[in-house]
Amino acid sequence: MRTRTPARIALYALLALAALAFVFPFYFMIVGALQEDPTTTPAGLLPAGGWTLENFALIDERVPLLRALLNSVVFTAGVLLGTLTFGLCAGYSLSRLHWRGRGVLFVVMLGVQMVPFQLLMIPLYVQVAGSYGLGDTFAGMILPFFINTTAVFIFRQFFLALPEEMFEAARIDGAGELRVLWSIAIPLVRPAIATVTLITFIGPWNEFLWPFLITKDATMQPLAVALANYISNIAQTVANPNGAILAGACALALPVVLLFCLFQKYFTASDIGAGVKG
């Protein structure tokens, strides 16, 4: 039973201030994108007039938004598919099953996190586009991202936190391992799915460098590439460059933010797993 003490008011105030500071650039972005002449003065932060949808209309002219959106969806869906199936299996096997090589894999997983993409870029491209011949295909785009390692981590943590008794009970009843996985583990993992989805979603959706490399066909480019191109090359040359840049930025940010807001109630904190261990 908490009362409204000064400490609590201060707490809310601190959080509110921080939240406002965090969100401010977004406010700036949206307001600016809708302005004919985006401002850089404090006075202009609450503009009375000068509203326009022109900046967005311009993007639509130069960038095939719908097509790019579709490409992004396919790309992201592919990665989600791989992660939620194979990643889940890997996470489960790393936590709840004992087998030779399990520790090795875990160490490799950690190591994988540390390596910067730019170091691997060209050999990876040579491999995927050259050896495997997957240039200009969705398979080629998806491949390096197919199973998200952070997600495997999270699945592992989540399964570790589940009580051993549930699995023991099933095994004593004579269930084979696959049965245990199918009937016990998977139904229980539902709370983690939302979080994993969000974390896995962000990667391919916002990824620019790899799809840019792997596709020469402009109709295959996902939203991030199309808009990044727009922001860097085209937006400079229109009549209202600042507005165009902000509008481009908005267009790229919007789908993810929307999705997050819509589904955020599913990301309850306990998903990441109790007892986050090293």
Partner: protein, 434 residues
């Protein structure tokens, strides 16, 4: 300890597996490809006008030769296109032809074995040298004696574009600005900013990308030295009184606040926050509706006359990749697309100058209708390009790093910077010169 042991175990296990995964890429049989015909792919920059040209020429070809169809693909313009192409060369996924090859990256592509020598085709050398004249030799191996791995296609000779209104407001006569010497250029710039006519005199991107010198230091250096390249005869040339004079000018411009040290977040010419820009004829199409523009030649220390001023070509060329399986078709298409007719179409659609000798005489009608471009066509006869050598991107990067530290940010004297740059660049030239 178990951690390290496991790490070793992990590597030991995965490495052989991994190396097995990286199977080979199959090369193209050059002898066969050189005599084959068939479908080909071409890459064109995604610049709107060039794309339009590309589509037109492809269509015309496909109608005339349906059994050797050409497919067009876009490669995004900019430095990143070089990277995409370099990666594609290594993977063997390049198209047959690219109509957007940067002469700075090209020697490295040759070294990597990614390109085809165009002189191996019948009439290859003649076509190139007849079309472009003497200066084509600057794009060939061994100073023109060796093979041509690129066909010099189009150039955007750099001149100084200025905003006539701002000049007038600053009290400079837009029809005769008289800013042809370094002294008068500096004076004029001071006037522009001093009278408040504009926030800055000019606003080149002060960033550290390796290609930025092509739009600030290099055009003036070429003008000043009457066409001396950054690197010539196996050594750098800019550590000299000429180089110093150019660098000093830029130092003054930045020091006195006449050029901002920060990149513009929008287009400064459009927004009127700057009065001048070093640009080529592509700028006419872009700014036609935005500002009232004028052009003048790049300045030099003592004011060389416009008829003799040399500037940077900013060329983009055509190259044939060694991954091409149907090289005869590719070559025929290349000659088709660089014929008088299609060079003319390029001129019409984009305003960029085909690297052709005697432009003004070849297309009199066009220039009669578009007098704005005449100055560029004239200037296009007196252009110089980047030095043809391997590893030139690293050379430009080192130059830019020193220029940035000295001229732009004043961390050291320009004299010292030029010296340091020469010290670093000379060994690189030795390593890479062809």
């Amino acid at each position: 300890m178990t951690l390290t042991r496991r790490a070793f175990g992990a590597t030991a296990l995965t490495l052989p597996l991994a190396l097995a995964a990286g199977c080979g890429r199959s090369p193209v049989d050059a002898a066969q490809a050189a005599t084959s015909r068939g479908p080909i792919r071409i890459w064109v920059s995604n610049n709107e006008q060039e794309l339009a040209w590309g589509q037109a020429v492809t269509e015309a070809w496909n109608t005339a030769r349906p059994d050797e169809p050409v497919t067009l693909q876009e490669v995004p313009a900019g430095a990143s296109s070089e990277e995409a192409i370099s990666a594609a060369i290594v993977a063997g996924t390049t198209a047959d032809l690219v109509f957007n090859a940067s002469p700075a990256a090209l020697p490295d592509w040759v070294r990597a074995g990614g390109l085809v020598d165009l002189t191996t085709f019948e009439g290859g050398r003649e076509h190139i040298e007849q079309r472009s004249g003497e200066r084509a030799r600057g794009y060939a191996e061994d100073d023109g004696a060796g093979g041509y791995f690129q066909l010099p296609w189009k150039s955007n000779p750099v001149m100084v574009m200025f905003n006539r209104e701002i000049f007038a407001a600053a009290g400079i006569d837009p029809n005769a600005p008289g800013m042809d010497t370094f002294e008068s250029f500096l004076e004029g710039s001071r006037q522009i900013v001093g009278t408040g006519a504009s926030a800055s005199a000019l606003w080149p991107a002060p960033t550290s990308d390796f290609y930025q010198p092509w739009f600030d230091f290099y055009p003036m250096y070429l003008a000043q030295t009457r066409g001396r390249l950054l690197v010539e005869d196996g050594a750098s040339t800019f550590d000299s009184p000429d180089g110093l004079a150019v660098a000093e000018l830029w130092r003054s411009l930045y020091e006195e606040g006449l050029a901002p040290q920060e990149e513009s977040t929008d287009d400064a010419m459009t927004m009127g926050t700057t009065a001048m820009q070093l640009a080529g004829p592509w700028a006419i199409a872009t700014y036609r509706d935005q500002i009232d523009y004028g052009f003048m030649p790049v300045p030099s220390a003592d004011g060389i006359s416009p008829e003799e001023t040399i500037t940077f070509a900013d060329s983009k060329n055509v190259a044939m990749f060694s991954s091409s399986q149907n090289r005869l078709t590719a070559w025929d298409f290349l000659t088709f697309a660089t014929s008088e007719e299609w060079d003319g179409k390029l001129l019409e659609l984009s305003g960029q100058m085909p690297l052709r000798a005697d432009l003004l005489d070849t297309y009199p009608d066009y220039f009669a209708e578009h007098p704005d471009y005449t100055a560029f066509a004239d200037q296009a006869d007196r252009v110089a390009d980047v030095p043809y050598l391997s590893g030139s991107i690293e050379i430009w990067q080192r130059f830019r790093d020193e220029f940035s530290a000295s001229a732009i940010f004043g961390k050291k004297s320009v004299g010292e910077a030029l010296r340091r740059a020469a010290e670093q660049i000379d060994p690189l030239v030795q390593k890479g010169a062809r």
